[in-house]
């Protein structure tokens, strides 16, 4: 287990939902995919979801699967409506300029 705040520091990430306290979110694993139909069926709670998909449906899928945080790779930039919905659903959103490959590698190393 690691804290989301530690991971954000390691990836030069920005918490774009600052009302969500990253120091209180624990990560046990990660999931990397942009197809939401797949994420819905396979992602699990406690995982950081790394994606470039920024459609509003990401929040519903995170909420359904119990994902506490979505990491937007390559500076993928969701609309304000997505950020507002995330706050409402208590899901943290983080943005990083790194690629999904780099983001997964760093998370994997920190967890193992």
């Amino acid at each position: 287990m690691i804290l989301l705040s530690e991971y954000i520091a390691a990836i030069d990430g920005v918490n774009i939902t600052p009302v969500m306290d990253a120091a209180k979110i624990e990560l046990s694993s990660g999931y990397v995919c942009d197809m939401l139909s797949d994420v819905m069926g396979s992602a699990k709670s406690g995982q950081a979801w790394i994606t470039i998909m920024k459609h509003l449906n990401v929040i519903a899928v995170a909420s359904m699967t119990g994902i506490p945080v979505i990491i937007f790779a390559k500076s993928s930039n969701p609309d304000q409506a997505v950020i507002d919905k995330a706050v409402e659903e208590e899901i943290c959103l983080v943005q990083s300029s790194k690629t999904a490959f780099e983001l997964s590698g760093i998370l994997y190393q920190m967890l193992n």
């Binding site: 942009d34 197809m35 939401l36 139909s37 994420v39 459609h55 449906n57 519903a60």
Partner: protein, 224 residues
């Protein structure tokens, strides 16, 4: 597919009305429309937009000047990548006599920067009609990309594949009206033509009438 060979096949199959929906471009609609006219086949201008989420979204237009305006905006929204002709083939624009009038260099296989919501707005602003393509497919469908259809009411209808078992599929999408499902062949080759089709009972072959079949207005009918 050459327009003459295509329309000959459409005529042989006794299909009365077709649309072509090339990937991210309507540049070939004028030539195909002329040849369709020669064969007495009704023709609708269409395009399959690949949105930023890699959803395939079909747009159809009754108004051709609006369609051309839309096509320009769509073109400028495509990611500026060169087509790899060795891999994807040449992207040609032809006239009705199959003369090549333009070689398109920008990769039409790629996505638009428009998200699906923005693409729908752009279609609506140009008096177009829109439906997500092959919603029962496992790739590039609104359901594969977004997990579920966020707001079905934003679309006019929903495209299904030639082989979709509607009875079984309806269990997965109980919130969609059967009347709003339109089956098509999505034919990329002559051999696939006619593999999927929809019957419309309408006053004339225009998209506006298809929308009346979806709502069952004034005796219009649709069956798949």
């Amino acid at each position: 597919m050459s327009p003459v060979a295509l329309m000959q096949r459409v005529q042989d199959l006794k299909i009365d009305w077709i649309a072509i929906t090339d990937h991210n471009s309507m540049a070939n609609c004028p030539a195909y429309e002329k040849v369709a006219g020669d064969f007495g086949i009704a023709f609708t201008w269409g395009v399959e937009i690949q949105t930023a989420e890699e959803i395939h979204l079909l747009a159809y237009f009754d108004d051709h000047s609006q369609a051309q305006e839309f096509d320009k905006l769509l073109y400028s929204s495509l990611l500026p990548l060169q087509n790899d002709a060795d891999f994807f083939g040449d992207q040609v624009v032809i006239d009705e006599n199959e003369n090549i009038i333009k070689l398109e260099e920008r990769a039409l296989i790629n996505s638009s920067i428009w998200g699906v919501d923005e693409a729908v707005d752009m279609i609506r602003n140009h008096d177009g009609y829109c439906m997500p393509a092959h919603i029962d497919a496992t790739a590039n469908s609104i359901i594969s990309q977004l997990g579920f259809i966020p707001n079905p009411e934003m679309f006019d209808a929903f495209g299904i594949t030639a082989k979709c078992n509607v009875e079984a599929y309806k269990q997965q999408v109980p919130y969609l009206e059967t009347n709003s499902l339109i089956r098509s062949s999505d034919a990329h080759y002559l051999a696939d033509m006619g593999s999927g089709w929809t019957k419309f009972y309408v006053e004339k072959p225009v998209m506006e009438e298809i929308m009346l079949t979806v709502s069952g207005t004034n005796g219009r009918l649709i069956s798949i």
